[in-house]
Symmetry: C2
Subunit: 501 residues, 2 copies
């Protein structure tokens, strides 16, 4: 029996007799190498400044404006009433009977439905794949969105989308000397680069074209794949972020079709990061899921048909929900056989299950009040207000950035970010080099010190050699946005003046 | 800039030109090899039976009794009122103003304190290490419990304790050809074996002594360490579960002292899994934390003093809270330097933060209402009722098991499980071998088919060669416990009769 618990055969005899303490030299090298810019040096610096401000030091600004991360509620975006009330009822069920007037009947009904389904309520572990009733809501949502069926046994609830991405990559990347790699857009969301480093995989970069609204160019993809294979990398998948983070680009169906065909031809698993699918700002544009386009092309992903392998990710953190802290998310697998699905289930079961409140929030995000429901009007107003304000703010930010010296910025067609290009002087480049930091990080630190506005340097996302960018969310509340942009413009001008060649 | 995102240099040229689909043969072999018995074959079988029952099939029993996992609320243990009300208020803050009579003033006050601290409420990402106010509550709790200071920068909030264990092991195990290993008790909670397999580490087993109440024997430990080193394993740490899972053993301070000294002498990081610290059933026994004993011995873990490296884990899922679904947990590191702490912070930041509701639940678990607070009496009664009922149930289970033919069971001094030894006939061994499954799994499947009671085979936890066990929780509610034990005894008798040599 015991042998079953011994994970690997032992051969070499190189161990130390007195042990090795856990320190910076003996930590897993992949952990040390991983970088996560969204919470990197600029954020560290802002935390130091916050401590100094709290200790009474006078800084050139009164408050911090965290534009480093898509964290809407931290910038006072309000939660939607319906799902919060249902969650409160699930957490304290006595509220419904003690204070019946406090809740709409559809909220009470939904909470009862979830309670019945969960048995022991939010305090119980759920099925490791997630609460069945929630997976049913998700399957219905996908079916309605795409016009093709979705199945509960192919949906996995996760703590945010990040956990799903990591689970999938854990299965996909075999580590060791196999040099398994993932085609990853540049610029990219650093979850991908950091997870690849951590798991011993290889990042295979494909460049998005800034001069074409950050679109995917198939020739770039083909070249990246050929180069990587020439270098001995076993390319196993491709990550696509649509709408794009940090770029804001929305892929057209034709582009998605081309990517799918390329994935089929080259047996690549597509990781479709679609967490911004409700954040569409471009007039007349709409979101098409990879799943929908795949099915249009005849890749229906039935068991036994693994021609196209696709995993799509979604989250409660973005869209109009903005529920980052609840850590709700799911992934849907397509063309992934039952054996691999069972392995994903096992991986999920190692954490027992994702958190129940995040699971329920996801259920309500995909299944909100319908016309005629008592909570519908409020829901629809709250949702509309958030989305239209985000749209206006995206335009404000785009306009203001393009008016600044040395800055050009593509429109954010979708998602929650602008990723402007900045052209800085040789003097600025030299000043950064003197400090031993990337030029864009130097720029962001200067802006932070001057204004309290927290940006993320483009180097954290990857960018074409000899170009510089930063990422900013457009999440500051609408009444403060104009002022924030004025402050940014003024600090930017000061930076440019201070660094003229 | 771009070079920073390329995680590894490439050398060999062995890649395939047409790609490798993700299937059972091409999945990461470590994922495939990992086993997680608590949700293994017996649970799979129970899910199949549940589907059949739901489809109308008549089974020999009316309901399932999931004793496979410590999931108290699923067996109708009630949540405590105070923390659930505070959570409801944090989720729907308007409830406090709209329905002031619904909540005790201390619940309202606590919710306001958390809201102020979080800025954007439960919908915001928090500091990746967790909400500062909660870490302060945890530090105060540890200081009070141990009589030695604890620090917020050494505490990390996690989604349950499992996530903390995995984070720590991810840092500790370097993978590749280094054969890093972890001393792990046998029997153990399979999170350890599965995580080791997944991370490419080596499980170094040390046996707990069943005839001495499952105590740790230092000579077993020394021998396990020497053998592993002789086999070329770099032993980097030791996992200790106290109170024990699945054994229920409570370590005495002297034993803890010996283990600490051994860890110091051999530079082993101690992973102290202390999630059952409130589940102490033995008359006169009390829980001593590894941290407290370490400080008693003079290992205060100041920065620069890494003689003893200790990480302790706690969770909202056990104790009297039983809040499994909320996924609250923390780890405290001790004697771990600032550089490694920064790496742990970075790892945490890759998931952005653990879920906020679980974080707040943890805060209230370690900082419940105090005497004089409006919620105190209710809290104290709820807590007392749960703990005294669990104590009675632990005794009922122990007594009933020992009365069954061929079963001996140590007292569960702590935790939520009994881990009886079963002696089965040659005929039973042969019947299991004919099916190609371990004998104890065969036994548990038979009991399940007959009764709906879900047990976990001892082979899932590891056991001495030629011994057989199973693990059962004692969580069925007190009014059903007698009946459950009767049903189990009767099915056990039938099994014994059916398998006489």
């Amino acid at each position: 029996m015991l042998r079953r618990t011994l994970p690997r055969a032992l051969s070499s005899a190189s161990s130390s007799l007195h042990g090795v303490p856990l320190d910076a030299t003996s930590i897993n090298a992949n952990v040390r190498a991983a970088e996560y810019a969204v919470r990197g040096n600029v954020l560290e610096r802002s935390m130091e400044l916050q401590r100094r401000m709290a200790a009474g030091e006078m800084l050139p600004f009164k408050k911090f404006v965290p534009c480093n991360i898509g964290n809407p509620h931290a910038l006072l975006q309000l939660p939607l009433s319906f799902h919060r009330d249902v969650l409160a009822l699930c957490i304290s069920p006595h509220l419904a009977s003690d204070h019946p007037s406090a809740f709409n009947p559809d909220a009470v009904e939904r909470a009862q439905k979830y309670a019945t389904e969960m048995g022991g309520g939010v305090g119980s572990y759920t099925n490791s794949q997630g609460i069945l009733a929630v997976r049913e809501e998700i399957a219905a949502f996908i079916t309605e969105r795409d016009g093709y069926p979705a199945y509960v046994d192919r949906i996995y609830l996760t703590n945010g989308a990040s956990e799903g991405v990591r689970m999938l990559l854990t299965c996909l990347l075999r580590g060791g000397e196999l040099h398994d790699g993932l085609l990853t857009p540049i610029p990219q969301y650093p979850l991908y680069s950091a997870s690849l480093t951590l798991l011993g995989g290889t990042l295979v970069p494909y460049h998005l074209n800034e001069s074409m609204d950050w679109g995917v160019q198939m020739e770039n993809l083909a070249e990246a794949l050929a180069t990587a294979r020439g270098n001995g990398v076993e390319v196993r998948g491709i990550a696509v972020i649509n709408p794009g983070n940090p770029t804001g680009n929305i892929l057209a169906e034709d582009q998605i079709k081309d990517i799918i065909q390329m994935a089929v031809d080259n047996k690549l698993v597509i990781l479709a990061d679609e967490v911004y699918q409700s954040n569409i700002w471009k007039e007349g544009a709409s979101f098409s899921s990879f799943k929908k386009v795949a099915c249009d092309m005849g890749y229906h992903g039935e068991d036994g048909d693994e021609r196209l392998q696709l995993v799509s990710f979604h989250s409660t953190s973005k869209g109009y929900f903005g529920e980052c802290g609840l850590r709700g998310g799911y992934m849907e697998v397509h063309g992934i056989g039952p054996e691999v699905r069972a392995e994903l289930y096992k991986l999920a079961s190692l954490s027992l299950c994702s958190n129940t409140v995040g699971q329920l929030a996801m259920g309500m995000m995909v299944n909100p009040p319908k016309p005629g429901d008592p909570s519908y009007q409020t829901f629809e107003k709250e949702r509309g207000d958030i989305l239209s304000s985000l749209r206006r703010r995206s335009m404000m930010v785009h306009k203001a950035l393009n008016e600044m010296e040395g800055i050009t910025c593509n429109k954010a067609d979708g998602a929650l970010y602008a990723f402007p290009r900045i052209r800085l002087s040789n003097k600025a480049v030299q000043a950064a080099a003197d400090k031993g930091i990337p030029t864009d990080e130097y720029y962001c630190l200067k802006i932070l010190d001057e204004t309290g506005i927290i940006l993320v340097p483009g180097s954290g996302f990857g960018q074409e050699e000899d170009t510089l960018h930063f990422r900013t969310t457009f999440l500051p509340s609408e009444d403060t946005m104009e002022e924030t942009l004025k402050v940014l413009a003024s600090a930017h001008n000061k930076f440019m003046d201070d660094h003229r060649d």
